[in-house]
């Protein structure tokens, strides 16, 4: 690892978005406009801006206000109906009504645990271990001094976070930036996908609490190994880290999915 870096590197980074930045900012297809409407209305109900029993404006007015075509609007309303959030009634006093509070994040995550088997969780861990091991070895070779500083800062952000949501985003940010410092866009993309898939499940307190201090200590130790260019040690640390995360997910799955069976068996 070289302690110096090109003074232009940062500016170049801003001028040319990386492939995953372009992923984020790519043009929206129509379907995502429908998703955006679903998201907007769901949030409004969750925040109490729209109340259960309230009638939404007529379809023509809605598509006008959202600036979308009728087909896109109908797609969004169909999705909201599928989620059981709104109901469309026919007739003179008809229209689209808010009938239920949207599912919370916790509901969604509980549902994930109930519908995902232990073998699938193990498999996520297998893939994550493979990606992370290669990533951290490359990070040892390629990370610059400023990467190390940033990673340390991001590691500390996790222990400073006070809510599960902020912890989840601090944790995933750390791992994604670690992958970024390995300078492989494909590995970074894989890390982003894996984080999106599991980080909420890790931090949402459902059955067994997850300790941010331990995770932070592990992150900091990992950064030290990268800074000292110790690929063997860094790999060992990151594999243990992922193993512990996967154990936590499996524990949560066992508690949520099979707690009853212990009582039944006795």
């Amino acid at each position: 690892m070289t302690p110096t870096r090109s003074p232009f590197s940062e500016r170049r980074l801003l001028a040319t978005p990386t492939s995953f930045q372009s992923q984020i900012y790519r043009a929206l297809p129509e379907i995502e406009r429908a998703d955006a409407i679903v998201d907007r209305i769901t949030k409004a109900i969750a925040l109490g801006l729209l109340k259960v029993g309230e009638r939404l404006p007529p379809e023509a007015a809605l598509s006008d206000m959202f600036g979308v075509g009728g087909a896109t609007l109908r797609e969004a309303l169909a999705e909201l109906r599928d989620q059981g959030v709104v109901e469309t009634r026919r007739g003179r006093s008809g229209g689209t009504f808010v009938v239920n509070q949207p599912r919370t994040q916790t509901d969604t995550i509980r549902e994930w645990f109930l519908s995902t088997s232990i073998s699938e969780i193990r498999d996520i861990g297998d893939e994550h271990a493979a990606i992370a091991a290669a990533t951290v070895r490359l990070a040892c070779e390629r990370a610059e001094a400023h990467d190390v500083d940033r990673l340390q800062e991001l590691a500390r952000a996790l222990v400073l976070a006070t809510t599960p949501e902020v912890r989840a985003s601090a944790d995933s940010r750390f791992h994604i930036e670690l992958a970024v410092s390995a300078q492989s866009p494909r590995l970074a993309n894989a890390e982003i996908r894996l984080q999106e898939e599991t980080v909420q499940q890790l931090w949402t307190p459902l059955a067994v609490a997850f300790d941010p201090e331990t995770a932070t200590a592990e992150h900091l130790e990992l950064v030290r190994a990268v800074a000292q260019d110790q690929p063997e040690k860094a790999q060992k640390l990151v594999l243990e880290h992922i193993r512990r995360n996967i154990f936590h997910l499996i524990d949560t799955k066992l508690t949520l999915g099979y707690a009853q069976s212990i009582q039944d068996g006795q």
Binding site: S117, I118, S119, D123, G257, Y258, I262, G265
Partner: protein, 240 residues
Amino acid sequence: MNPDNEVVHAANALTSWTSGVSTEIKELSRNVATLLERNLAGKSKVNKAALVGLDELSREFLTKNTFAVGAGTFLAAESVEKGGRALEWWSRKESGAIGRLDFDLTPGSNRYYDYEKLPFFSTAASTGEQTLWGPYIDYLGFEEYILTFAAPFSVHGNFAGVAGCDIRIKDLEPLLMPNLRVIPGDAALINASNRVILGNSGMYLVGERIKSGSPDLHRLALDVPHLGLSLIYTTQPQTS
């Protein structure tokens, strides 16, 4: 219940469940043999006409045994007429509908499914007994993480193929976990090659090979002939 009783209780429950599957597979293979002998009416090689009715047997099996995701018959290539159809395999789709599964059986092709070389077929063929193969990823076949139960059958006294069923690992978990969770310590159902089929904690994860050596690790063979299943469990040091 003391821990030993709980282990015995779990072992009995697992034995009873696997024996049940075993019995169903034996019956399927018997029915397949009977049907083929009747359809062949003395002819030696299986042709298209001889397969009539096999699809119904698979469908009936899947309708009755909801734990299975696929079921059917693989014929030994030797017993099939040249250019004939060598298998009849049906599987349950995501929607719940039951449909025929097609395999590429052209030797040398990129996606050739060389089933005669796969353990669920070759072991049943060489031993003449029932087999259990897995957990494995059935690449080019069903292409999921599964277990396969298979039983060989003979037509006019000669080995002619195997009948069997696939069970998805993710479907097996909710069926067997309650039995394993009765055991207070770490425990797992393992196959004949010492690999985990299902464990009751993060300690024993599906697919992993169990290395013997720990004096706290015990093994109890399940009384289901030929399948080679065992229950392993650890006894924790007594705390007084």
